[in-house]
């Protein structure tokens, strides 16, 4: 049946068809092409864009794609848009489109001839290169990227418990606190001459190499704390577990405030800044890898079964105790790692960071992104952290805009924006061939 806007060949004519064709064309560029384009764009930005920014009237290269200028200096919005168009949009699309056939062939080759590890690592290296060059402009960007990556780890760990296992757990600030303090204590004992713990036991030069062990130590401390929440969870579910986990968070915070030997309410400081962007990125990739494999494994599917109907799962020979224990301990471990990284990015922690506000923030990230999906967690963490940075000029009003946004998301999509989606790496990095003409 021909509509008014079709011609004889059945294709829609008019403005919409040009846009559609462009969209179709862009859809045939694989992820590798986009990464290449982005890399070229950020290289252009870091080397050549300062004169362009000055000539457009911007005081400096805009920090977050000019999105903050909307609030601070609205008059500069057109020049910021022009800057973003010239420095980002044009090179990305151009390079991606021009190299489309080459990158398609390369992606296909990598997927077919090499084990999965090789293309994934290549893509991750590109991703890290983009982040590194983008962040080289100023330290603020590096700090923001580090916090975003740490939030991704935290959100993923909470999604394991809230999304995949369906428990409303308020204990993650407690796990993060335990991990942060555990890791900081280890680093301070071994590598720093400190008032609290005395002289360093090992030379400082060994620090960056033994830092992963300290992080794992912090994660183990957090996992041991998770036993306090996991064991009561065998007998209760749902609302009572929420209370037990909430009580756990209060207890951890109060415990830390009362232990003068680790600083008490004043907190710990002077942690060496071992958590540079590459380290945080590597740990984030490890976390995503472990969590994706967990969700695909038997225990991950058992966690889903426990969420849907615990009695039925038990009747189907799933060991619900073991499932709950493993999920809680794994989630706590990664929350502890996130806490340790957080402590070493800024070099100072104190117990009030890990209170109700942190709980609200991390729950917001999980529910904004989506339950039971790795992509959702990453999207939620990145989105919320970006939003908090962009809305920073609004000061207090930031905490009105973000909750309103979250309420709207909850009303429209109660399980989050991207929920219940599988994370298939093959689908992401596969070549998208041009259709036969």
């Amino acid at each position: 049946m021909r509509t008014r806007k079709s011609d004889a060949s059945g294709a829609k004519t008019g403005k919409s068809s040009a846009l559609r064709k462009f969209g179709c064309y862009l859809g045939q560029i694989p992820v590798l092409g986009w990464l290449l384009g982005s890399l070229v764009a950020v290289i252009i930005e870091s080397t050549l864009s300062y004169p362009l920014a000055r000539s457009l009237g911007l005081p400096n290269i805009p920090a977050i794609f000019g999105l903050r200028l909307v609030f601070t200096k609205p008059l500069l919005i057109p020049s910021a848009l022009l800057f973003v168009f010239i420095v980002y949009a044009v090179p990305i699309v151009l390079v991606a489109a021009l190299t489309a056939s080459a990158t398609n062939k390369l992606s296909g080759l990598l997927l077919k001839k090499f084990p999965m590890v090789v293309p994934v690592v290549i893509h991750l290296v590109f991703l890290y290169a983009i982040m590194h060059v983008w962040g080289s402009i100023n330290d603020y960007r590096v700090l923001m990227l580090s916090f975003i990556l740490v939030s991704i780890i935290l959100t993923l760990s909470l999604n394991l418990v809230n999304g995949y296992m369906g428990e409303f757990s308020c204990s993650h600030p407690g796990f993060m606190a335990l991990g942060a303090y555990g890791c900081s204590v280890l680093t301070l004992i071994f590598f720093v001459n400190d008032d609290l713990f005395g002289a360093a036991l090992l030379p400082q030069a060994w620090g960056p190499f033994l830092f992963p062990l300290c992080l794992i130590g912090g994660g183990i401390v957090a996992s041991l704390g998770a036993l306090v929440v996991a064991i009561p969870s065998f007998r209760t579910r749902g609302d009572y577990l929420a209370i037990i986990s909430l009580a756990f968070t209060f207890i951890v915070k109060s415990l830390i405030e009362n232990l003068e030997v680790i600083g008490g309410p004043r907190g710990l400081m002077n942690q060496p800044k071992f958590a540079g962007l590459p380290i945080v990125f590597v740990w984030m990739c490890l976390c995503v890898w472990v969590c994706v494999n967990f969700t695909r494994s038997i225990i991950g599917k058992a966690a889903n079964a426990v969420r849907d109907n615990e009695t039925a799962a038990d009747a189907m020979t799933i060991n619900t105790r073991r499932t709950k224990m493993v999920t809680f301990l794994l989630a706590a471990f990664w929350a502890g790692v996130a806490g340790g990284l957080f402590a070493h990015i800024i070099g100072y922690i104190n117990p009030s960071t890990f209170g109700i506000l942190k709980l609200s923030e991390v729950l917001a990230m999980v529910y904004l992104g989506g339950l039971n999906s790795v992509v959702g967690s990453i999207a939620g963490a990145v989105g919320l952290q970006f939003l908090m940075e962009i809305l920073r000029p609004l000061a207090m009003l930031k905490w009105i805009v973000i909750p309103v946004l979250l309420i709207i998301v909850m009303i429209r999509r109660p399980a989050g924006l991207i929920s219940f989606t599988e994370f298939k790496v093959e689908n992401i990095i596969r070549p998208r061939r041009k259709k036969e003409r």
């Binding site: 809230n162 409303f168 306090v228 064991i231 009561p232 007998r235 209760t236 609302d239 009572y240 929420a242 209370i243 037990i244 909430l246 009580a247 756990f248 209060f250 207890i251 915070k253 109060s254 415990l255 405030e257 009362n258 109700i356 609200s360 729950l363 917001a364 529910y367 339950l371 207090m396 009003l397 905490w399 009105i400 909750p403 309103v404 979250l406 309420i407 909850m410 009303i411 109660p414 399980a415």
Partner: protein, 309 residues
């Protein structure tokens, strides 16, 4: 601890527990009837305290200006009643905006929405009224009664007496009136009872209104007892009253009140016996222990025979 100290802590705990009990009643009612946790309840308590402060300041101002001279106790009664009515409107607005669209959604989403509404209330207060702490005007002169060797102030009496009065009033309302019967029916079966002609939306609004009125009363009493108000005061008390509501058993009103008083007693006596910095630690460990031994609270059922959406 001497007997005098014990009596002093006892009266303190009664007063402190009254706040928890009144707020926990709101949580428990909403949970029992609508099967969701209203995490914005602590902030409704804060809103109630602020509204009470404004009303009483206004009335005291009118009195001093000579326009409308009222004795202190009349201002108190007027403040409490008006504050309860106004805050119930706030509660009804919260239900309409935040919870009614999510009626069929998973409970966790409604909980998150409640949390966000709470943050909006806190930040809105901070943005509108500034960060300065406000003082609650003194409505009744503090008279200290000396009963033998112990001293009791009249404010404590009034607060505990009025709280218990309000709780008894709520209990009678739920037991004896038709609307109370409708609420109990909704708590019994959320799905079928609306099919029998009970208006679900009205019951929801009524539940929130009653809960918010009680929280507002708690806020006013809190202002009388501790006259400094700040925007984040609802956060800690709200979460602790939530713990008390669960401790009392899901949906049980008597349980929530008793658990609120128990929590008040635990906190005050723990702070009296042990160093006070360990108060939260020990109080929550005790609660954790109680919940591990009896996971469903005092008056809760081990499983629920009720049909749930």
């Amino acid at each position: 601890m001497t007997l005098i100290d014990f009596f002093r802590h006892f009266t303190n705990a009664l007063q402190w527990g009254s706040f928890y009990a009144l707020i926990a009643l709101g949580y428990s009612m909403v949970y029992g009837i609508m099967m969701l946790f209203n995490f914005a309840h602590g902030d409704i308590f804060m809103v109630g305290a602020y509204i009470g402060m404004f009303i009483s300041s206004g009335l005291v101002g009118l009195s001093t200006l000579g326009i409308l001279v009222l004795p202190g106790w009349a201002i108190l009664v007027l403040t409490i009643i008006t504050c309860m009515i106004l805050t119930s409107f706030v509660g009804m607005a919260v239900e309409r905006i935040g919870y009614r669209p999510l009626r069929g959604a998973p409970r966790a989403s409604a909980a998150i929405t409640g949390l966000m509404i709470g943050i909006i209330l806190e930040t809105g207060n901070l943005a509108l009224l500034g960060a300065q702490r406000r003082k609650y005007p003194e409505l009744i002169e503090k008279v200290t009664y000396h009963i033998g060797p112990v001293n009791v102030t009249n404010t404590k009496f009034i607060i505990v007496f009025l709280s218990i009065l309000l709780m008894i009033a709520l209990h009678q309302f739920i037991r004896r009136t038709k609307w109370g019967m409708a609420m109990r029916a909704m708590a019994y079966d959320f799905v079928v009872v609306p099919l029998m002609g009970v208006p679900m939306n009205l019951i929801a609004v009524l539940t929130f209104a009653l809960g918010s009125a009680l929280a507002a009363a708690a806020g006013t009493f809190f202002g009388i007892a501790y006259p400094v108000l700040e925007p984040y005061m609802g956060m800690i008390i709200g979460w602790k009253a939530f713990v008390a509501a669960i401790l009392g058993g899901r949906g049980s009103i008597v349980g929530a009140a008793l658990a609120g008083y128990l929590l008040g007693f635990i906190e005050i006596f723990v702070a009296a016996i042990f160093p006070s910095t360990l108060r939260d630690l020990i109080a929550y460990s005790i609660i954790l222990l109680i919940l591990t031994i009896r996971p469903h609270g005092f008056f809760g059922e081990a499983y629920s025979a009720r049909l749930r959406i």
